[in-house]
C-alpha cells in the first residue's frame, strides 16, 4: 500500500471506524505513516465529546419547554373560529333534526311518545310549557347519555386546527347559516 493512500485512510477513519488490516500492517513497517497515526491518536481524543459542548441543563429544559408549548394544540380565539364553530353547530343540529324527522335516528330530545313536534319552535314550546314534562336536569342527563349528543360535544370541544382551517378556507358561515 502506498503511503499517500495509507495516510488518507488514517485521516478519514481514525476515531470513527476500525482501520483495515492492510493499513495497520503498513503503519507497523513505515515510520512516516506511524508518525501520522500517533499524531492523530494524540489529537483526536482531545476533541472532547458532545457532552462538553452542550449548554446547561437549565437552558436545555427551556428549549424543550418552548418546543412543547409551540407544538401543543392551540386554541385560537377569533371571530373566524367562533363563526366556524357556530356554523358547525348549525350543521350538526340541522342534520340531527332532518334525521329525527325522517326517523333515521333516535329522538335526540327524548320526547314523550305522544308528543308530535313539527318544528324546533314547537319542541322548545313544549320544553317551556308542559308541566308534566321531565325536569330540565333529567332531560339534559338523558341527552348527555345519547351517543349522538356525544359526537356533538366532540365536535364542539375537539375540533382540530386542521379541521378549523378547512372550514375557514372552504365554507363561509353565511353559506351554512
Amino acid at each position: 500500500m502506498r503511503c499517500e493512500r495509507v495516510q488518507e485512510e488514517l485521516m478519514l477513519n481514525i476515531g470513527v471506524e476500525a482501520l483495515s488490516p492492510e493499513v495497520l500492517e503498513h503503519v507497523g513497517q513505515c515510520a512516516e505513516c506511524r508518525a501520522v497515526k500517533d499524531d492523530l491518536d494524540r489529537v483526536l481524543p482531545n476533541a472532547l465529546s458532545d457532552q462538553a459542548f452542550s449548554l446547561s441543563d437549565q437552558v436545555l429544559r427551556e428549549i424543550q419547554e418552548k418546543v412543547e408549548k409551540s407544538i401543543a394544540p392551540q386554541r385560537i380565539f377569533s371571530v373566524q373560529r367562533a363563526l366556524a364553530i357556530a356554523a358547525s353547530v348549525v350543521l350538526v343540529v340541522g342534520v340531527s333534526y332532518v334525521g329525527f324527522r325522517s326517523g333515521g335516528i333516535d329522538d335526540p330530545f327524548n320526547l314523550p311518545p305522544d308528543s308530535s313536534a313539527d318544528t324546533f319552535v314547537q319542541t322548545f314550546d313544549w320544553l317551556e310549557s308542559d308541566a308534566d314534562s321531565p325536569s330540565m336536569d333529567a332531560l339534559f342527563e338523558s341527552v348527555d347519555s345519547d351517543p349522538y349528543r356525544s359526537s356533538y360535544d366532540l365536535l364542539l370541544e375537539e375540533i382540530t386546527d386542521e379541521e378549523l382551517e378547512y372550514l375557514e378556507n372552504n365554507l363561509s358561515a353565511g353559506e351554512l347559516l
Binding site: 485521516m11 462538553a52 407544538i71
Partner: protein, 189 residues
C-alpha cells in the same frame, strides 16, 4: 443497534403517530447532541439554542414524512444541518465580520472531576470551538457529522447534499487542519 438507539426509534415511531409525550421523550434524549452540534457549528450559544428549538419544531411538523429508511438521529442531524446552514448564510449576508465564538457557556460536567482536569477541558472546549469556527462551513459540517456524530460518508453526503468525494475531501481537510492546529497550540493528551 444499541438498546438506546432502539428505544429512540420506538419513540420516533410513536411520535409519528401523533404521540406528543413520546416526542417529548425523544427530544429529551436527543437535545444534548443537537445543541452541541448547533453550538459547534455557530460558536454562539443563543443561536445554538434557537436552532435546536427550530430543529425540533420542524421535526414534529415533518414526522409524517419521515419514512424510517435512515435512523431518526441522522434525520434530526439533517434538519439541524439545514437550519444551521441557512442561519450561517444569513449571518454572512448581514455581517461583514466573521462571527466571534462566544465563551459564555455553562460547562455541563456532571461527573465529579479533578478541578485541574476541568479547567483543561474548559480550555480545550474553547480552543476546539475557536478552531471549528476557522473551518469553512462545509468542512465544519463534515467534521461535526463524521467525528462527533459518527455518520458514514454516504450518510453525510445525503445530509448535506454533497457528492461522496466532496464529503471525504472536506473531512480530510478538516482533520489535516486539526492536526496542524493541535501541534501548533501544544494540546496535551
Amino acid at each position: 443497534m444499541t438498546q438506546r438507539a432502539k428505544k429512540i426509534e420506538q419513540l420516533a415511531e410513536k411520535a409519528r403517530l401523533g404521540d406528543q409525550r413520546a416526542f417529548s421523550e425523544l427530544m429529551k434524549a436527543k437535545m444534548n447532541e443537537i445543541v452541541a452540534m448547533t453550538y459547534k457549528m455557530t460558536g454562539d450559544s443563543q443561536a445554538a439554542a434557537d436552532l435546536a428549538q427550530e430543529t425540533f419544531i420542524a421535526a414534529w411538523k415533518n414526522l409524517g414524512s419521515f419514512r424510517g429508511d435512515s435512523s431518526v438521529s441522522s434525520w434530526l442531524y439533517r434538519i439541524a444541518a439545514n437550519k444551521t446552514l441557512n442561519h450561517l448564510k444569513k449571518e454572512k449576508k448581514y455581517s461583514s465580520f466573521d462571527s466571534v465564538p462566544d465563551v459564555n457557556i455553562q460547562p455541563i460536567d456532571h461527573s465529579p472531576e479533578d478541578p485541574s482536569r476541568l479547567l483543561e477541558k474548559k480550555q480545550l472546549r474553547e480552543e476546539m470551538l475557536d478552531f471549528m469556527q476557522t473551518l469553512p462551513t462545509q468542512q465544519r459540517l463534515a467534521f461535526e457529522l463524521r467525528f462527533y456524530k459518527q455518520l458514514s460518508f454516504a450518510e453525510i453526503g445525503e445530509t448535506t447534499g454533497s457528492a461522496l468525494g466532496t464529503v471525504k475531501t472536506n473531512y480530510r481537510e478538516a482533520i489535516k487542519k486539526l492536526r496542524k492546529h493541535a501541534i501548533e497550540s501544544g494540546w496535551r493528551q
